[in-house]
Subunit: 203 residues, 2 copies
DNA sequence: TGCAACTTTGCATCAAGTGCAATATTGAGT
DNA sequence: ACTCAATATTGCACTTGATGCAAAGTTGCA
């Protein structure tokens, strides 16, 4: 029913969601325990209670499953606001907000999610490559945002460079959070990281 | 013999170098012609005149072969100079010089090398991931450079952020060169790209 | 010329990943 | 409650990437 609450979806959809979560959870636990190469798709599928064939109905690759990489779509409200020059009205602050949204998608939910993803990427370089590939897949979406905003109120430079800076903020915030002992939320590091980058390029 | 000229190495070393070049050349030509997935390791090995097993003696993966990714080591002279505050004495200009050295390693030699690598990465997202993974593998080496320089004359911020900026310069210069019609040398775009990034973070 | 060192290669193997089709499950209408 | 369409799961065969082992071949050096 169209008026059914979002969390009251059909059994099929709920099972699908639960299965995807089970796969990611199993994948991450097993890889953290045994190392990426030692863990097979068959082992992950077993732990998640599905067949290996089904595994590939949910994720394109073992890498994707381990990172739990979801499609990322910006909230329509956020898009409208950003394009109109918001949410803060100042570009650098708005970059931080956008970077925070991306961090939410990259790191996922749950209290230990960022730590877990970071630990996995640190342990497995190839997952880091996957992480970057995810960024590139979403680059166009972000760039379009900047292009629209630019058409209303000119940005200091082209949308491509703005997009690049956002991705660097995400990356640098994760590293800074890690270097700072992983306390608090990753997004809290965005202002400091932006200041550091400014210090370098203005030297 | 230790006093043998660099280009007068043994037959074995020369054949090894030639084989590696033949593999990369074959890989790039075949992938550009047929697409990454349609080209097998066996086909590349055939075209390069070696066995598939030998292919894996030269490159860890098909991806690495297609990108022709070489180990990158900074010239000892350059290292000494950079660490001492050179080559220009101004950090941002020195970042550009360092980024240019990296571009040389990433894009390889030959007049069409940058265009070819860029084209491959544009056509195959997974090669882009590989490209980033290469950066991450060399991150420590670059970060060490900054750490040493920092110990003599403090940088505006930590070596990790400086390293991140260098990598962004490399990436953005490639994109800028592409967007500008691929004329001239990629390294010529570094100053403009640095200025653009500065414009964004200072907005 | 002979031998050590190194490289190439064939082969068997494992694992990731895919297409196809049979079987199972769920949703919707009556 | 039943039926059927739509969708998902699964088994299987297969291709390809990648690896370890050891035999055979090539190169360097005395």
């Amino acid at each position: 029913m169209s008026d059914r609450p979002a969390d009251d979806t059909g059994l099929r959809a709920r099972k699908k969601r639960a299965r995807a979560d089970a796969i990611v959870d199993a994948a991450q636990r097993l890889v953290l325990a045994h190392g990426f190469d030692a863990v097979t798709v068959e082992a992950i599928a077993d732990a998640a209670g599905i067949s290996p064939r089904t595994f590939f109905n949910y994720f394109e690759s073992k890498d994707d499953a381990v990172l739990g990489q979801a499609s990322f779509d910006l909230d329509a409200g956020f898009r409208g606001e950003f394009v109109a020059g918001g949410p803060t009205g100042r570009l650098t602050a708005d970059l931080e907000v956008l970077a925070a949204a991306l961090l939410g998608a990259v790191a996922g939910s749950g209290p230990h999610a960022p730590a877990r993803v970071l630990e996995l990427m640190q342990a497995e370089p190839r997952l880091l490559a996957c992480h970057f590939a995810w960024f590139e897949r979403h680059k166009n979406q972000i760039e379009d945002l900047f292009a629209e905003r630019h058409s209303r109120q000119p940005l200091p430079t082209d949308p491509a460079t703005c997009t690049m800076v956002v991705f660097v903020l995400v990356r640098a915030a994760l590293d800074d959070w890690d270097a700072g002992g992983r306390r608090g939320d990753v997004t809290e590091h965005l202002p400091a990281v932006l200041a550091k980058i400014a210090a370098v390029v203005n030297a």
